[in-house]
Amino acid sequence: MSRFRRACCLLLLGALYCAASPRVQAMDIMMVASSRGELYERFLDTIRDRYGTQNDVHLSTIYLDREARTLTEIDETTDLLLTVGTRAASTVAELGLPIPAINAIIPESSYRTLIGSETGCSKRSAIFIDQPLRRQALLASHIFPNARNYGVLLGPVSRQRRVEIDTMELPADRRLIVRNVTQEENTVATTRKLLKETDLLLAVNDPLVLNRENAKLLLYAAYQKQIPIIGFSRAYVRAGAAAAVFSEPEQMAKQAMEMIKHWRSRNSSCLPGPEYTRYFRVAINTGVARSLGGDDKDEDTLIKMILKQEQRQ
């Protein structure tokens, strides 16, 4: 084929490709962080590192801790708002902007409070900081396979997760015992009662149920009863919990970008629905776990096992 013809074919193919491909325009993403805290910076840095090399995404960042502003930078050119932290999410929500917003690193309870009873296509979505309780249960089943009765203590904040708790699928032969704690009740006493009924405790992030003041006591009470506690942070494992599942800001950022990609690919103003963190890490207090009769498994193995079970679900 002559050279001229070859060139014409290439041009034609290119035009057809461009015509066939959906138009990908540069997207302006405004990231609004509650502060410049390490948690948020690590999240934002991950986003920047990824999107910074791409020409189709334009990032902007606003920090709310020092910049008392009315977020005038957010205008019609912003394609997406990505809030990091509860304060950023509530601040953006108060603006009532028609711009889609993904609220990352926000407790589920806080998010539910923000969106209220909103249903259908939402221009808001979230990536919860919370870990799904099932994940904690799966972890507990792998480390303490003999524990059958899982206890959960819910407080005013964590009570909103009741639906999740009620609908979650436990590992085989496991029973979940849930108790609620009110302001008036002594958490320690309630916990002691629960410990009598259970083989294992699944800790949820509720300031009334579990805080830095009573955490040691709860750990001590549980340890006294030989009841392991499965937590939701590395710090809790260091404090004495037998094990925990948690997500790092980089993982949450990754999940946020996947959500954005998925949203862009759909070319819709509706964002995907809120999610628990998809990616997680596992921390084990081997001393506590062994002393409470737990199996000795490494963290990566546990992650794989949990993921496998979650995917199967």
């Binding site: 962080a33 410049r36 805290g37 390490e38 948690l39 690193i105 579990l210 710090a235 809790y236 800001p249």
Partner: protein, 894 residues
């Protein structure tokens, strides 16, 4: 500590030095360890109590927070199970006691309880990785107190433990001390023991017990030391044995040598004694022989001389002359023998005095002038201008040497001349060399004869000995004298031509200040004539040294020419000196040539002729011409020159005779002479001789008689024989010196070999010596020297001492000096009696001899004495001594 160490022996020192630091260390460590353990026990209790309290506080957190008393009790129960725990109290934050547990059955004292309190803190635990609001890692939560726990522990166990620690510490310390003492003792003993033992060995070796050895077998260096000392002791012992053996052998040899030496010494002592005795005997024999031979010989010669003057026939004259000649020859032989004997036996001592060399030379020449004149020989004395006036040496030995050579020269010369030449070399090394030479035109010597001429008893060949006689000892005496004077003697001779004998004398190179500085003829024009070139040169040199402008010639015709030309000069010559030989002189006024000379030159003239008749100068009246024998003495020549030139004559020297008849000999008229001589012949001889010269003679047979005569009468001269019976001459001289004649010249008469040095004579009180036999001329010379009176003197009985002969002046000066010394001593010791006595004696001397310069000073001394001022008297004495020192015979004679 140092003193303690110094007083201790080595063992104790090591022990002390070893244990002292150990003690200190052990005590320090023991105390430190015990104290530390006891403190640790208490600290452990306290720490344990705090730990228990804190632990309980931590454990009580749950119980206190939940107000769970059972929990609290359970926790407290675990603490109570501790044995020391007495009680536990737990209180809430408001101080309300929630729990109190006591241990039953314990009632400790209050001082045995220690209480610990710890707050119960409620510390939060972080359960989140990040704060959801800030996004930061959660901050550390501060703990809050919710109560306190108190526990009490008993200190009984601690006290018990502390006691046991203390006891253990003490026991260990004491054990350590004891062990260190034991160890130190063992070490000290192991070191000091061998050293002490070695010290003992060394002491024994030092004390002489060289068989001492060390038996120790110490290891290491001590063993090496022991072996070394043993070896050293062995070597010492062997060496000592060897030395002892050698010493014994040497002692035996030495004893043998000493015995031999003692024997030899005894032999030597005997030989020495024999030699001394022999020498003494020899000296005595010589002296006796000298005296025994000379005495009669003196008489023979003397009386022969007297006899010669009496009217004798021609034959008798000839016989007497022969006798005189024979006796003179015998005398010479005896003199030679005695002189050689003294030199050979080294009994001659050299003098070292300052003397007038020029005068000594002229004296020596004058002795032989008559002999030379008799043989019609020209006798010349040529003294170079660089010869010092005064030298320090032995004048008598030099004169003896010179006279021997001159005597020989005249003896062996029949015609021609004998020239005595003296020169000097004065290098800068402080030693001057005086060169004497006697040159004659005599028979000469062959080389073979010259080789042995200085050997004793050698006199050329046998024919010479027979012809000229003599002992052959003269030149050997000259050689010995030259050697004695530190010089050398040489001979240079040709047979038939003549000989030159020369010798050198080394003398100190004295400052030339005393050289003859007299230049009495400065500016004077003098014309000198003498046919003999040597005599002419000698005269020219003499006038040159006197400062004159000298013209000279040895040719008569030339002299006439010079005189003619000189007469035309504006300043013609002022003095004409003419030296004539005997064959040239025909007597004044009969000499025609002299008359011609006087016609041309009317200047004062002095004729020097070679004859003995004019030994005293004679001036021709109205002619300004004087005659003098040659060679002329300088002093006499100068006096004649002064006379003819009408210069001032400062000295009161001998008279210049103006009488035409030179044979007048009554020069010693009015002279009082005492002759002390035990020999009657000699008495008569001296009497005749002195009387012939006009002297008045007193005779004494011995010293005692002499003293008696001298005590009552003042003499002008005393001739004292030395060896006399009853009282000898020396003793008599000493006694006479204490009396009236203490200033009278006393001349020793002796035939002995007599030390004639001035010091020796002075020590004996003598002034001069005349050797027997006494020749008339010698006697006259002595009279001239000691007694010459001025030509015109007032007969006042007082005589001007300073116009007396130099010898007398010398005596007077000595006496004045003696008186001044005595006055000084009396003044210093405050002896007024002696002072007055010597003042009286001094006054007598001053007045008697008219010492005018002393008179004024003496008056000052008297005035000072009257005032009693010692200082003034000393000052006057100083002045008198200075005055006396400024007056010398030389100054007065010139």
């Amino acid at each position: 500590m140092n003193k303690l160490l110094q007083r201790s022996d080595i063992g104790h020192r090591i022990l002390l030095l070893f244990t002292a630091p150990l003690f200190l260390i052990i005590l320090s460590l023991g105390y430190y360890a015990t104290d530390m353990q006891m403190n640790d026990a208490r600290t452990a209790l306290l720490e344990r109590g705090e730990l228990i309290a804190k632990h309980l506080a931590d454990l009580s957190e749950l119980g206190l927070y939940s107000t769970d008393i059972r929990e609290l009790h359970r926790q407290a129960g675990t603490v109570m199970r501790e044995p020391d725990t007495l009680h536990v109290k737990i209180s809430n934050n408001s101080g309300r006691l929630l729990l109190h547990i006591n241990k039953a059955g314990t009632e400790p004292r209050a001082d045995q309880i220690v209480t610990f309190t710890a707050p119960v803190l409620r510390a939060g635990v972080e359960i989140l990785d990040f704060d959801i609001e800030s996004g930061e890692a959660p901050a550390t939560d501060t703990s809050q107190p919710i109560g306190s726990v108190q526990i009490s522990l008993s200190t009984a166990a601690m006290e018990h433990r502390r006691n046991s620690i203390l006891l253990t510490g003490i026991v260990l310390t004491c054990s350590g001390l004891l062990l260190s003492i034991l160890l130190a003792y063992l070490v000290a003993h192991s070191v000091s023991g061998p050293i002490i033992q070695l010290t003992g060995i060394v002491n024994e070796l030092t004390g002489g017990r060289l068989s001492a050895r060390s038996a120790g077998r110490s290891p290491g260096e001590l063993g090496t030391l022991e072996q070394g000392i043993n070896q050293m002791a062995g070597t010492l012992e062997d060496t000592q044995k060897q030395l002892r053996k050698e010493v014994e052998e040497a002692t035996e040899a030495l004893q043998e040598t000493v015995r031999k030496l003692e024997s030899r010494n005894a032999e030597l002592d005997q030989a020495r004694s024999d030699a001394v005795n022999a020498g003494a005997a020899k000296s005595d024999f010589l002296a006796r022989m000298s005296h025994e031979i000379r005495t009669p010989l003196s008489a023979v010669i003397g009386f022969s001389g007297l006899l010669e003057k009496t009217g004798l026939s021609e034959n008798q004259q000839e016989y007497i002359h022969t006798i005189t000649q024979a006796a003179s020859q015998l005398l010479l032989i005896i003199d030679d023998i005695l002189g050689y004997s003294r030199l050979d036996s080294n009994t001659l001592d050299l003098e070292s005095i300052s003397f007038d060399l020029h005068e000594a030379l002229e004296n020596a020449i004058s002795i032989f002038s008559k002999q030379a004149h008799e043989k019609r020989l020209e006798l010349v004395l040529y003294i170079h201008s660089d010869v010092p006036q005064y030298i320090t040496s032995d004048p008598n030995r030099i004169s003896q040497l010179l006279t021997n050579l001159i005597n020989n020269a005249i003896k062996f010369t029949n015609d021609g001349h004998v020239i005595v030449e003296v020169s000097a070399e004065t290098p800068d090394n402080g030693v001057a060399t005086i060169n004497f030479s006697v040159t004659d035109t005599g028979i000469g010597l062959s080389e073979a004869e010259q080789a042995h001429i200085f050997d004793p008893f050698i006199q050329g060949d046998i024919s010479t000995s027979r012809k000229y006689g003599g002992t052959g000892l003269g030149l050997s005496i000259c050689k010995k004298l030259a050697d004695l004077l530190g010089g050398e003697i040489h001979v240079n001779s040709f047979p038939g031509t003549g000989s030159t004998f020369s010798f050198t004398v080394h003398v100190p190179n004295e400052v030339t200040a005393r050289k003859n500085a007299i230049k009495p003829l400065v500016g004077r024009k003098v014309l000198v004539y003498d046919r003999n070139p040597f005599a002419l040169r000698a005269l020219r040199n003499r006038f040159f040294t006197w400062g004159a402008t000298v013209f000279n010639t040895a040719d008569r015709d030339r002299l006439m020419e010079i005189l003619a030309a000189d007469a035309q000069q504006d300043s013609p010559c002022e003095l004409l000196i003419m030296g004539l030989s005997q064959d040239e002189y025909n007597g004044i006024p009969h000499d025609a040539w002299l008359e011609d000379v006087r016609r041309i030159c009317s200047a004062p003239a002095i004729v020097l002729i070679g004859d003995e008749l004019h030994d005293l100068p004679t001036c021709i009246a109205d002619t300004q011409m004087c005659i003098l024998s040659k060679p002329p003495r300088s002093d006499r020549l100068l006096r004649v020159i002064r006379k003819v030139l009408s210069l001032d004559d400062e000295t009161g020297a001998e008279n210049i005779a103006t009488a035409v008849n030179p044979d007048q000999k009554k020069t010693f008229a009015r002279l009082n002479v005492l002759v002390v001589e035990d020999n009657s012949f000699n008495q008569r001889l001296f009497d005749q001789l002195l009387s012939s010269h006009g002297a008045h003679v007193a005779l004494a047979e011995n010293g005692e008689e002499a003293c008696k005569l001298a005590a009552h009468r003042l003499f002008d001269l005393i001739l004292m024989d030395i060896h006399m019976p009853v009282m000898g001459g020396i003793r008599a001289t000493q006694l006479i010196r204490e009396g009236t004649n203490r200033l009278t010249p006393i001349i020793a008469l002796t035939a002995d070999v007599f030390a004639d040095s001035d010091q020796y004579l002075e020590s004996l009180g003598l002034d001069d010596v005349l050797y027997k036999p006494v020749a008339e001329q010698k006697l006259v010379n002595i009279l001239h020297k000691w007694c010459q009176l001025p030509a015109q003197e007032a007969d006042t009985g007082e005589r001007d001492a300073m116009t007396r002969p130099a010898g007398f002046q010398k005596r007077l000066q000595r006496e004045l000096g003696r008186q001044l010394n005595a006055l000084r001593k009396a003044l210093d010791s405050g002896d007024q009696a002696h002072f007055a006595d010597h003042m009286h004696q001094l006054k007598g001397l001053v007045q008697y001899f008219g010492l005018t310069e002393f008179t004024d000073r003496f008056r000052s001394l008297e005035e000072a004495r009257d005032t009693g001022s010692v200082q003034s008297m000393q000052e006057v004495l100083d002045t008198l001594e200075t005055l006396l020192a400024g007056i010398t015979p030389d100054n007065q004679a010139r």
